[in-house]
């Protein structure tokens, strides 16, 4: 038996899950393989059986994942054909969260759905968004809801956050946004788990009310997050500052908080004169209660499980092998929810714990030896205990989570290594004092006043640290995915190389070096295809935006999507793509015309990236968003250029950027709206041609007919989101596009795209790509054949 059996089994299980996710092999195949291996198992000699055993675990992992993602039972909500339609549903509230911008999100467990005649039984969960702050106690309450049933969207742009997957992991398959026409009614009936409704959630409700009474502003929200995991109310800007400083982990209730709670419980229990078993049971009950108080969030459950395993081993007086313990925890968690393996939260949790284990075992002897030769004085003791050891542990955690945070959030935080030394003890004190104040305050309200004042200043300190530390130079760095992968590869090879030198195996070192060289060459081939042009039409909802990377690595952003109340296409759709791909400089930003759904996201891009120049045709608009845009351009002193038809944008002979519209004369005329002023761009690279038409209407299209055959293009960005006023048959007969990309939002109020436009495109055998259905569209070309990547 190996030293870490649980780790081996967990790894086999994980391999099974991964194989099933990407190969999706049918259950029957897996069963037959299992049957076959059972036969082989009894035929082969004993010492080969071990391998087959692990194969069996791999197969089990595949089965488990297959069963987990397989569609639920028959009455489930995903089988209704009412998606996109108005529905009436009944259910009960499983979860309620208040968000920063006075928004409330309910998770509703469905019981019935109206099918036109009567209520039919159904099940599954729906996420209900309500744009009112709901501060009442709601867990378990039965509700009637009338609204439009929507399907959550997956990742809209390459590598973007997969919202649908995130919700599916919580068992949610549908969304209802409550607007003016929809309705929510709270029935008098109650449902759900009695213990949770009448005890856990009521205590939580009381806690939240008392926190709200005693604190205000962001301190209140952070305290709610730290103690109860209700962090949705924290200002997104403040969250971003915590994330940049690399100390976001203290806001999310995690292993750290569970650790503090266990520490407090342990202290409390040590005051009692109970037998050991009793004390441990008390602590475990305490953890379970705390976990349910935080709504059993996955990080809390993970941490509680790991602590539980350690406590159990401790009680049974077993030797606890740390890696094996987290292997066991991982195995148990994945048995229940195999899909968690692919969540960033799961990976970060386990990376952090592994980091602590790795670094403590690696530096244990080092620290012991280093301090042996120092005199045993008080100061050095304090220095070792409170500075050196925490610093090393913090370093280990950051070292291990960096690849993940770099990969998922395109960011590496360095300053967090030091910040943790201040922030973690502060958080510990806040958690301790906070719970003390809440629990004691329940019986004697006035006694907590001094504690609340201390808490107030500690929370202020946290906000101050988050606010100032990310402004320091090199506190964090934006990295592309490629960089992250390369750094990880280099680290692995450095370790392997170091090992082979230490063991004196020179030939192996040579093999490693050759392998590394091969990977680097492969990287050049995969990421930097020479002479390739890449065009992405972003899915920005109802709006328009495209980014072109030219063969000489110059970039052009044409429009920037919309900005609405709580949504900024620049922030949520465009910037993540740019960061992930390591794009820091955009040579040209083209504003086809100053309408909100074309310029909304540009201010954010200008603020956060370097811009060569802004190209526009000169017609201004009197709107808030346009003012914001002008302010940002002026603030960063970006050169603005007016462009007209006949101008050249670039000097390169490799590819051409033509401006077809508007002419200088056209600008001086006055029209009703700015749509017809839209800049029309044609890009030619070898045999691949692209036409961007902004929001022009058919009458401008007629004007463009003078270009005749020059209009012909492989890809047409359909004008005005597929409105019937554009994309006339005559125009199409000249352009003859192979692909037509229509950028538009799902269920938009204009009823775009118009069916006539679609049929016109279909008649000339054009492939229609709608961003509302397909997400973003990506094309590449090496000057010859055009390739659609996505």
């Amino acid at each position: 038996m190996s030293k870490r059996p649980a780790c081996k089994v967990a790894i086999a299980f994980i391999i099974g899950i991964i194989v099933e996710k990407y190969a999706s092999i049918s259950t029957w195949y897996i069963f037959s393989i299992i049957a076959l291996s059972l036969i082989i198992f009894f035929l082969i000699p004993k010492h080969y059986r071990n391998i087959l055993l692990y194969l069996g675990i791999v197969l089990l992992g595949m089965l488990r994942y297959g069963a987990f993602i397989s569609v639920p039972n028959k009455g489930h909500i995903i089988y209704t054909n009412s998606f996109g339609n108005w529905v009436e549903i009944r259910g009960w509230i499983k979860d309620k969260r208040n968000y920063f911008d006075e928004k409330t999100k309910y998770t509703v467990e469905l019981t019935k759905i109206w099918d036109g005649k009567y209520y039919k039984n159904t099940n599954g969960r729906v996420l209900v968004n309500r744009y009112i702050e709901d501060n009442n106690f709601r867990y378990g309450q039965e509700v009637y809801i009338k609204g439009r049933l929507l399907k959550p969207r997956g990742s809209k742009n390459p590598g973007e956050f997969n919202y649908a997957g995130y919700l599916r992991n919580k068992g949610i398959f549908a969304i209802i946004n409550l607007g003016s026409k929809s309705e929510i009614r709270f029935a008098n009936k109650k449902n759900g788990n009695w213990f949770r409704r009448e005890i856990v959630e009521k205590i939580k409700f009381d806690f939240i009310n008392r926190i709200s009474k005693n604190f205000s502003g962001q301190e209140k929200e952070i305290l709610k997050g730290l103690l109860l995991g209700e962090r949705e109310g924290i200002d997104p800007d403040l969250k971003e500052q915590f994330a940049k400083s690399g100390i976001f982990h203290i806001l999310a209730v995690s292993g750290l908080h569970v650790g503090f709670v266990i520490f407090l419980l342990g202290f409390f229990v040590s005051l009692l004169r109970f037998p050991k078993l009793f004390k441990i049971i008390l602590v475990i009950l305490g953890i379970v209660f705390y976990a349910s108080l935080t709504g059993s969030r996955p990080p809390v459950v993970r941490a509680s499980l790991i602590y539980g395993i350690v406590l159990l081993g401790f009680f049974a007086e077993r030797r606890i092998e740390p890696l094996n313990s987290i292997g066991t925890a991982g195995l148990i968690l994945l048995l229940f929810r195999p899909d968690d393996l692919f969540s960033a939260s799961f990976q970060l949790s386990f990376a952090a714990v592994s980091g602590i284990i790795f670094i403590t075992s690696a530096f244990e002897d080092f620290i012991g030896n280093a301090f042996k030769y120092l005199p045993k004085s008080f100061l050095i003791r304090i220095f070792k205990k409170y500075i050196i050891i925490p610093l090393i542990i913090s370093f280990g955690v950051i070292l291990f989570i960096s690849p993940f945070s770099g990969y998922y959030f395109s960011r590496l935080s360095f300053i967090a290594v030091i910040l943790n030394l201040i922030v973690i003890p502060t958080t510990g004190v806040i958690v301790g004092l906070g719970f003390y104040s809440l629990i004691v305050g329940y019986f004697i309200p006035n006694i907590c006043e001094p504690f609340n004042i201390v808490l107030h200043y500690l929370l202020k300190l946290l906000i101050f640290i988050a606010d100032y530390s990310n402004k320091l130079i090199y506190s964090y760095m934006d990295v592309s995915r490629e960089t992250v992968i390369l750094i990880v590869i280099f680290c692995i090879f450095f370790y392997l190389g170091y090992k082979s030198i230490a063991e004196g195996k020179k030939r192996r070192l040579l093999i490693y070096l050759l392998l590394l060289a091969n990977i680097l060459i492969l990287d050049r081939i995969l990421f930097h295809r020479i002479g390739e042009m890449r065009i992405i039409f972003f899915d920005v909802g109802q709006g328009d935006s495209a980014l072109i990377t030219f063969p000489d690595n110059k970039k052009m952003l044409i429009d920037g999507g919309d900005k609405r109340l709580s949504f900024d296409a620049g922030e949520y759709n465009i910037a993540p793509y740019l960061k992930r791909n390591g794009i820091k400089f955009i040579d040209w930003v083209v504003i086809t015309h100053p309408e909100s759904d074309h310029i909304g996201g540009i201010p954010f891009i200008i603020k956060n990236f370097k811009i060569g120049s802004v190209l526009e045709m000169g017609v201004k608009e009197d709107s808030e968003i346009y003012k914001e845009l002008e302010n940002e351009i002026n603030a960063k002193n970006i050169p603005r250029k007016q462009i007209f038809s006949g101008m050249r944008v670039n000097d390169s002979e490799l590819y051409r950027i033509y401006i077809l519209h508007p002419t200088k004369e056209f600008i001086s005329e006055i029209y009703r709206n700015t749509n017809n002023f839209s800049i029309v761009i044609k890009i030619v690279y070898g045999e691949s041609e692209f036409l961007f038409t902004g929001d022009i209407e058919s009458f401008v299209e007629e004007m463009l007919m003078r270009y005749n055959d020059f209009l012909q293009s492989d890809v047409l960005k359909v004008s005005h989101h597929g409105s019937k006023t554009s994309t006339s048959s005559d125009f199409l007969s000249k352009v003859k596009p192979k692909y037509a990309v229509i950028p538009l939002g799902e269920y938009n109020i204009y009823n775009f795209p118009d069916s006539s436009v679609i049929s016109r495109l279909k008649t000339i055998n054009t492939e229609v790509i709608r961003t509302d259905l397909n997400g973003s569209a990506v094309f590449t070309s090496a000057g010859k054949k055009l390739v659609r990547v996505r």
């Binding site: 038996m1 190996s2 030293k3 870490r4 059996p5 649980a6 040590s270 005051l271 050991k276 395993i309 159990l312 081993g313 401790f314 049974a316 007086e317 077993r318 030797r319 606890i320 092998e321 094996n324 313990s325 066991t328 005199p375 045993k376 004085s377 003791r381």
Partner: protein
Amino acid sequence: MKKNEMFSKSLTFMKIQESLKYLYKSFFDFIYPPFCYTCDERLKESERLVCEKCWNSFKPYEGGIKIEKKELNIPGKTNFSECYLTYNYNEKTLKLIHIFKYSKKSSLSIRMGKKLGEVIKKNNFEKKFDMIIPVPLHKSRERERGFNQSDLLSRFASSESGIPLFKNIVIRTKNNKSQSQLSYKERIENVKNIFRVKQPEMIKDKEIILIDDIITTGLTVNSCCGELKKHGAKEIICMAVIHPVEK
């Protein structure tokens, strides 16, 4: 007939019990793989925490090791007459004590306590000495750790040798810092006036074995012996598991 039936029933019951036990054990072995703390070899069925091989490697000294007072580092007069150890000091035995004390594996005390008892018997102390007293811990420290390591050792030493154990005669009144973290000068100050005898009539003219887990400089036991002597103890010897020699 009846007897036979009953017998067969209890046999199946035993079988079920055994297989359940096996299941329980293999479940625990999966989560906490049984490997020896000191040599990292896999443990056998009957072994727990430390393997037989290691236990055997600990005891090259049959009658214990008697250490001279000059090997200890006590300034001035020593309050005890002799000092015995069970195990020779090396990396493994130090680790053993650390696991016992800091990883809180109280079950290790059985073996070590019995060994102390054996040493007592080998030297025929059980006829001469009246009582075993463990070096007390401060109340809060004991609560923190969950047990008093010298207490546990004394318990098994007492049951092995037959000398009665008296626990609450001496108490520690000051929760002093751990000696291991201090320099020599600090250590001398640290152990001054930390013990108090609660029942002086019990130790009057008695011959006492004082048991501790580790004796490093001997300052702690000396301080404790001084307190006992002050209240009339006739003779005291100290016993411990190991004596770490600091270089």
